[in-house]
Amino acid sequence: MKLMLSLLASAVISTSVWAENIAIIGGKVHTMTQLGTMEKATILIKDGKIAQIDRDLRVPDNYRKIDASGKVITPGFVGALTTLGLVEVSMSAGVVDSSVKKAGVTKTGAALDVSYALNPDSSLVKISRVEGITSAATAISSVDTLFYGQGAVMSLGDDPLLKAHAFMKVDVGSDGAEGEGGSRAALWVALETALEEAASVEGKLNAQDDWHGMNSRADVAALKKVLSGKMPLFMQADRAADIRQVIAFKKRHPDIKVVLVHGVEAWRVAKQLAANNIPVIIDPEFNLPGGFDQLGATLANAARLEKAGVMVAIGMDTHNIRLAAQHAGNAVANGLSHEAGLASLTSAPAKILGMQDTIGSISQGKRADIVIWSGDPLEVTQAAEQVFVNGEPIKMESRQTKLRDRYLSSQKASHSQPTQYLRP
């Protein structure tokens, strides 16, 4: 079967077409839809999609049955903001595509496009997906420009690109100000001017058009997608005053889909964020005044945002995006509801990324990215036991599990032999 699949893959036929039908039976399913949590439910997976979910479903004959009794099932987790697929080793180890220094094609950074850079063979992909991360927003994290370019949504399966030009990021806090003359007084004018310039261009700029803008031609094209609301704008800010500016920005540009990122003091303006329908992506464990923008840092951030009605997504890491569940768990330990904790890892990031019809929940027609857990996924002692990406049960194996198995057997071996001859 394996051989056949690889032959078919080489013939450019999607393997999922040939995937087997699977019925996952008996688990406690957090659907992340209005159906809530279903005990002892059956999920039918066909052609890579969820065909049906219900209690007491009759399983058709041509489905392989997987018993998940006593297990917990969730949608595959969605990394809310990562650099997955763009980095192998962060430092002193070759090109890191999530870091862009100088690039002639862009002036403001808006044009940068990570969809060209995604590498599904990065070891991080398998290391993260065996722990339940099946997709992720991925973007540039270091630039010399105003914008961090266009991020993508990536699958942690074989076929990485789920959505190109999925969002644009800009930092409107201290780090952003550092890059624009060292002051917010310059930063915000730069941001408004860049957008205004893009808005003033009718249609598409052609190569022969005379153009001397603060944006490059490619930047203008990218910003137009932000202005029309096609591409959400992730605005990074921590201090309450900056977040109020983000809210004022949203009021000035009602068509732009604004998402607040990092938001250490977001709880202080939670009501206004909710009123203006601005979701946030946070690291809920961040509770120290790392700088004067973060004096209000508290573990209660997520809980207070939820209480005010703000949508919260959790999961800002890359090598350890697998720890997003622990982050959410700690938010729950500090007052976030368990349901919102799970949503912060699934439906919330899917909605923020405009991918709610594809990922982030278990319901008919969704991509079958599903995780069977040993127990509550927010508990540090529980783990993913089987992960499905696009309907296929993945091999629960990574470089790390292989290293583990090699040295486990080396420790058990009665006589020592050179470890490089040990196959896990």
Partner: protein, 473 residues
């Protein structure tokens, strides 16, 4: 340095001038007849720590992890006068003790973090506060972390809420020899001395691998791991020579030869302290092959490496670590941020433990230090899934007993045993759960943190009058 009167007479004239430069050691003048012997003051920055007043307290009906590998179900612990007075299932307790019903709750020894930079890389992490790496020379064994600890770092209070009762503050890892560490009691106060763990030995921070290479590669070296090792060896050799000079001085002094004392060298003084066994080596080292080379350097120069820190590949050489009696202080799951961290695996800690080597959970992080119990829980459960069956009671040794041994304070803390310091955490439940929190934290029997009493939470000077003052953190 100070002069002490010799057995032949009393002379104190030079004491104060010596504190400035050392009159006899640097003077080119003709030598005075010396009737005093020059010695080094071993404890020039003494601890002024005073415990918080405690009340005799009994916690009953509680699950106790003693930290020595034992678990007591439905037990009780009694502490008074700063010490553990009794623990077990049936203990005598005086009538006047405060009684806390621990039903459904757990008690453990306080967590000890052997790898923290609180105070030297404090919050706010501004450049003006960045005091952890003396990045001007690969060998700065003469600098001491305690001279840079800012006790107003709000991180101390946050760590306390996570059950951390003691910690080692280390210099950073930019240098081959980064300087001396200091062990603190986690009772946030005005000065470093107010927090200093009385009589804890000094540590020496050393670093392997990428960091020194990267920092000095274009600043005169070392540029390679070869250069790193040459740097350690030369320094140890210089320290051996330094010891010989002082020994010769002392010998000649005893013979009444009126010798000139050697010029004091703070860098070599620290290294000599290691060679004499007074200072414990804490070495930042990731790769298995490098740690093994370092254990040979250790034998070559006859010193002891107490702990490899980070030790991301310790699992590959757990047998050798055991054989050489070197601890590994590790994260549960950090990996990949640089090449030497590329082979990190989740089962590192349990694999080291299973081999019979000393395993420690450390943080190296102002966030991680707040939930080290969760780091242990992850390693514990990952180990079990891989077939390494360690009890929770044994696993708690990674958090208290083993770190205490590595810091040379196990005679005082790190386990719950009668007569030891009452450094105790009362947890809301099983501390191997994400949802469990420290409810009360006692240091030397004094209640240093009480989750239920916001008015009793420590608030650093920095946070007074600022946004979020006194808020739940």
């Amino acid at each position: 340095m100070q002069r002490i009167p010799s057995r032949f007479g009393v002379a104190v004239a030079c004491v104060f001038s010596l504190a400035v430069v050392g009159c006899s050691t640097t003077s080119k003048k003709e030598q005075q007849p010396s009737d005093t012997k020059v010695t080094i003051q071993p404890n020039p920055y003494p601890s002024t720590y005073t415990p918080i007043d405690g009340q005799p307290t009994v916690i009953t009906n509680v699950t106790i992890l003693t930290g020595t590998g034992e678990k007591i179900e439905n037990g009780a612990i009694y502490f008074a006068d700063g010490k553990v007075a009794a623990l077990g299932t049936d203990i005598d307790k005086p009538a006047d003790a405060v009684v806390i019903d621990g039903k459904g709750k757990w008690v453990t020894p306080g967590i000890i973090d052997t790898h923290s930079h609180l105070g030297v890389y404090p919050n706010p992490s501004t450049r003006s506060h960045s005091d952890g790496n003396e990045m001007v020379n690969p060998v700065t064994a003469g600098v001491w972390a305690e001279h840079a600890v800012w006790p107003q770092d709000p991180g101390f209070g946050r760590a306390l809420a996570g059950g951390v009762t003691s910690m080692q503050i280390l210099p950073g890892s930019a240098n081959l020899f980064g300087g001396r560490s200091v062990v603190l009691k986690n009772v946030p106060n005005r000065t470093m001395q107010d927090m200093k763990f009385p009589d804890a030995p000094h540590g020496l921070k050393m670093a392997c691998g990428e960091n020194p290479k990267r920092v000095y590669g274009e600043k005169g070296g070392p540029m390679t791991r070869m250069g790193n090792v040459a740097g350690y060896r030369q320094a140890w050799s210089d320290a051996q020579n330094y010891i010989i000079q002082w020994e010769r001085y002392e010998r000649e002094f005893e013979k009444g030869k009126n010798p000139k004392p050697p010029k004091r060298d703070l860098k070599l003084e620290t290294l000599a302290g290691v060679l004499k066994g007074d200072i414990l080596v804490h070495m930042h080292c990731y790769r298995a092959d490098e740690m093994t080379v370092m254990m040979d350097v250790m034998k070559e120069f006859d010193y002891k490496i107490g702990t490899f820190h980070h030790a991301v590949e310790a699992y590959k050489i757990a047998d050798k670590l055991k054989e050489n009696n070197v601890c590994s202080a590790m994260w549960a799951d950090w990996w990949g941020f640089k090449m030497e961290a590329y082979d990190g695996i989740r089962e590192n800690i349990p694999l080291v433990h299973q081999a019979g080597a000393c395993a420690i959970v450390h943080s190296d992080s102002d966030l991680g230090i707040q939930r080290l119990n969760q780091e242990a829980a992850k390693a514990w459960s990952d180990g079990r899934r891989a077939g390494i069956d360690i009890s929770q009671a044994d696993a708690w040794q990674w958090l208290s007993a083993n770190p205490a041994k590595a810091l040379g304070i196990y005679d005082q803390t790190g386990s719950l045993e009668v007569g030891k310091n009452a450094d105790i955490v009362l947890w809301s439940g099983d501390p191997f759960s994400t949802y469990t929190q420290a409810e009360k934290v006692y240091v030397d029997g004094g209640l240093a943190y009480d989750r239920a009493k916001p008015e009793h939470w420590p608030v650093s000077d920095f946070e007074l009058g600022q946004v979020g003052e006194g808020d739940e953190k």
